[in-house]
Symmetry: C2
Subunit: 236 residues, 2 copies
Amino acid sequence: SRLVQPGSVLVLAARSGDELRALQDELTASEAGRAGLKVRVAVADVGRTEGLEAIIRSSAEAFSENIDRVILINNAASLGDVSRFTRSFTDMAEVDSYLSLNVSSSLCLTARVLQAFPGRGGLRHTVVNVTSLCALQPFRSWVLYCTGKAAREMMFRVLAEEEPELRVLNYSPGPLDTEMQQEARSRTADPEVKIAFSDMKTRGQLLTCEESCAKLMKVLLEDGFSSGAHIDVYDV
Amino acid sequence: SRLVQPGSVLVLAARSGDELRALQDELTASEAGRAGLKVRVAVADVGRTEGLEAIIRSSAEAFSENIDRVILINNAASLGDVSRFTRSFTDMAEVDSYLSLNVSSSLCLTARVLQAFPGRGGLRHTVVNVTSLCALQPFRSWVLYCTGKAAREMMFRVLAEEEPELRVLNYSPGPLDTEMQQEARSRTADPEVKIAFSDMKTRGQLLTCEESCAKLMKVLLEDGFSSGAHIDVYDV
């Protein structure tokens, strides 16, 4: 809460309105909320054009002339079907749909935010891409996830090259104790990769979202990263 | 032609039937054709499921039990609109369509070929992805191309990890004196990148397709590359 500047607004976007509103209530009642943080929600599927529009609309309503920093965090992603190997992906519609949600949406949302809130003297932008080790290293039976993360990371590297005024960060949050990890442990086709995920869980090596987000906050506050860089939670 | 083994078949796929058939005639009349190479054509748009099916159908017709090596060369690609910067890509349909042609199609074609011609004792597969320096390095105003090439390269790296029996090569052919380079020189939005392409042309640094393909042939014949590796024409 000591970090909450007057006039700060958090716009949360997700598909589930109930969960979003519960989080909104929780944050509004928190120390940050009591310190003045406004929390807005956009019930939106980022995989659809209407979803991107809803996010921009909510953000525009929340925006004021006093705001001096826009931070966009591109976190939405899906794991894809990890229960099969690359040679089983013969269906264009399945791959198209995966890439649309995981790649196109983050490009188009980022572009729309940059257009909707153009930089001016006092307004700066930071764009975060939530990336993964999978953007850099291939993992067996994770072809969609690795491909999507590699694509996104390159996309944000191009953006960083194009716009030196922007701060662009590819942040790899580490293995988080979330539903996605549960899916990874239970559904991964490759036995070695599957066991590696199970072992991380049983050895207590998964990070909480709070731990990883605290590291992300540290990186953003110190603001010393090279724009476009890939920064891993374990490097912070 | 000294490399043409009896029973060798080349299946060429592209959208333009006239140009394909002209090439078929040229190759059939060439030294390789006279040495026994059969040339088949599949008029097909790899961006469409029917196109992939047409390629598999033509390949199945060409296949015989004597064949001991299937080589799939994933070359089809488009440049994307390089006349604009990342912040202009707000249209999901445009990005979806680009990724479908440039990423999904190569994944699904490769998967279909592997399924249609399963490896057996005497049958081995080599899969080539025509990649680019753009898969590794960001270039300003080339966001679609860089993103697509990074995605493809990771996809083939995953395939290589999954299937040790396969030979997977990411081959970067260098700057070729083709229509795509003409488009790059004339339409690239970023002035420095644009000039770099013009300079390559005026200094005679563009490679002919024949030069680059000869290097690719050398790599394939020597067969010493590490499966999944990125090999650049200048490293051969």
